[in-house]
Symmetry: C2
Subunit: 457 residues, 2 copies
Amino acid sequence: MTLSDEFLGALEDLCPVRGKEAVAALDPGFYPDNLAAGVAAHPRTVSEIQAIVELCRTHRVSIVPHGGRTGLAGAAASMPGQLIVDLKAMNRIEKVDVVSGTVRVQAGATLQSVQDECASHGLTPGIDIAARGSATIGGMISTNAGGMEAFRCGVMRHRVLGLEAVLPDGSVFSDLTCVTKANEGLDIKHLLIGAEGRLGIVTRAVLKLEQLPLATSTVLTSFENAAGAVAAFHNLRAAGNLLRAEIMWRSYAESVAKDVGLDDLIASFDGNVFVLFEHEGATQQDAQTVQEDVLIPLIEDGTISYAIVAQNDRQASDFWRIREDSWAVERQRPGGYWYDVSVPLEGLDQYVGELENDLKNIAANVHLSCMGHLGDGNLHVTVAGSDGVHPDKELVDHAVLSRLRLKGGSFSAEHGIGLEKMKALAAYGDPAKLRFARAIKQAIDPESLMNPGKVQS
Amino acid sequence: MTLSDEFLGALEDLCPVRGKEAVAALDPGFYPDNLAAGVAAHPRTVSEIQAIVELCRTHRVSIVPHGGRTGLAGAAASMPGQLIVDLKAMNRIEKVDVVSGTVRVQAGATLQSVQDECASHGLTPGIDIAARGSATIGGMISTNAGGMEAFRCGVMRHRVLGLEAVLPDGSVFSDLTCVTKANEGLDIKHLLIGAEGRLGIVTRAVLKLEQLPLATSTVLTSFENAAGAVAAFHNLRAAGNLLRAEIMWRSYAESVAKDVGLDDLIASFDGNVFVLFEHEGATQQDAQTVQEDVLIPLIEDGTISYAIVAQNDRQASDFWRIREDSWAVERQRPGGYWYDVSVPLEGLDQYVGELENDLKNIAANVHLSCMGHLGDGNLHVTVAGSDGVHPDKELVDHAVLSRLRLKGGSFSAEHGIGLEKMKALAAYGDPAKLRFARAIKQAIDPESLMNPGKVQS
């Protein structure tokens, strides 16, 4: 299926358009089919987006909104006959209000550009993900992005004060309040957040800002188990100044350390669970003092098995490399299965223990790798076999996902549903919730103009 | 219009029911018409609520869900021919998970009961409002309650991890996750939060908990204007340990102080704006030391005009009385107009200044009283004339409300729409948002079974 010449001609009158070859030159991002539509519109204003939506309605062409194409679940995947609406030309940071602690941005601005602009005022949007350089604010809103700061600043949903979007009927939803408290009837904004572009195209947002940490200190710690890590986390949090707490099970840390040449570092630690804690202070030395004050009692009472405070930026960057170079797991065992789940903190050890057992029963030599954001209980789980022979995917899916609902966790933590988790949503989502969502989609986008074929459509 | 004997008979078979006289004996709460329906069902289980909804569908009787009846906007107002479904019999605190930092409660539990139970574990739900003794968790979710801790812990929406509700079709929406990160398709939970009972009856919730402050210290400060108060707020927040920051303009503080016999205290302060800051510490003395450390430089550089640190509980309680006994304003000038608005912090002085000017032009001797939650820019505004003669309400409404949208504020901050703000919503709400909300209501509750006649129906 291809777009008609009539449609393409009319589209070119509205805004810059990339055809097949020009689209092929773009970075497709993580998901292979992101650019499969082969045609992308690059609007520069909200009015241009309205005109595109009108044109698509007339020609019954469905729209796949694109931000930075950094999503891991396939929400931006497209097909021939669809139109990609790429927001990256709308990337202005319109207003930083330092006194009120807010920033108003266009949807195509990258997280990095917003972080940089806010940092020049001593502020931060309070959210950070590894794909900061390409991920856009609109994409992060549409997927309700998470990341490393969520335990203290919330996920993207909690950073958004105001939102503007073009709806499937071409009208502009404009709720650009700059305040935390605004109870003005049904909060439609919160329905658009995390909707993966299925209810409209996010065009602009007002985000809440936080004070930018002045200086930081990083410590790598190890624990007998996750329960010890959680106890330390609560202690450190109560003492104040804790910025980040990233957890890694030993099998993950060893895999990455081997890949990046830091085996000796990891081998010097006891315990099955590692945590990277980052603290803030007026200077790096201050941050380190705060950190040591709270860590020493935990080392003395045996909660922490072993700890090394990074003595300089290079050592801190080595520590973070082990956490952030998660792709090393894939390099070592290509083709494994990746999951993104949440588990209440109380149940972390039990969850991982049960999973290890299940995997042993599924096949021999299965490698389980877990790491993630400790404060949220958000685990990124990888399961892979040896020598490219992987265990049965359905059995592994079941082992990883089936216990989560009963535990109060989630089969879909921070990456969203997209195409990847549609089956899991059907299996583990609440039926009444799915019916409710379908009724909304039907009411707001009866012709399924916006990002069809995804989630529960 | 009255309910048929057949309906009442069937209802009595389902759950305990109060008829006219028994209902009249209940506390109607703030809003006069809350009990006007004259019949209340008191279900004890989710199944009983489902059966009530089924019965009401069959008999075309509409439902007004009730929590603690502490709402100030009239969302719980009822009419003869409707059925009140009172949730207060479902008040169990089902599970406090200390390690994960969560509590699962039934909707009818009061905030106070949840606070008390959590406090016994050193935890707090991170939200507090003056009506804590009667306000229920379900009511607070349905109105998305705010209060004094919102600038650091968010409003009710940000406290809710999981939600259960009976929908208009009688099905149970069950999304009782206990984790922050759960991106599982359209987030229907966030649509039910703040819906004022128009999309379903909230029956159960999982709330996120925070560490309970160990001890506190209170200081009453004054400033030349709100800009100074905001500057101090940012300084104090960055220094850490700040729990509360409540702002009062002089005319408010003087009105209440006179009423409660604390005129001398207020008279000793310079400046037009007062702020009560509450800090936390391991002991009261620690909290006071933290507080003094951050306040003294602000006094020395002239940002703070005057400050008194409460030396004991009695003095702290006097300070809080001035903030909390806002009803004194009504006692002094009965029949004034009350508003609940949000203003971005940068615009506080300008907003109040413009309002003062407008009111002068509307009538002579108009008394303006402003106080609220500094960190959110949430102001409770009262406008009253002298000797019971009040200025024209439409003109005052316009003066208080009309500039807010352009400033990025809100005409409806934390009390909700109910009946009180329907006119304001029609005037200042975004038309595309209102259409979206109506389409959802129509799709989910086509027979308008749930709390009809309110908000934008």
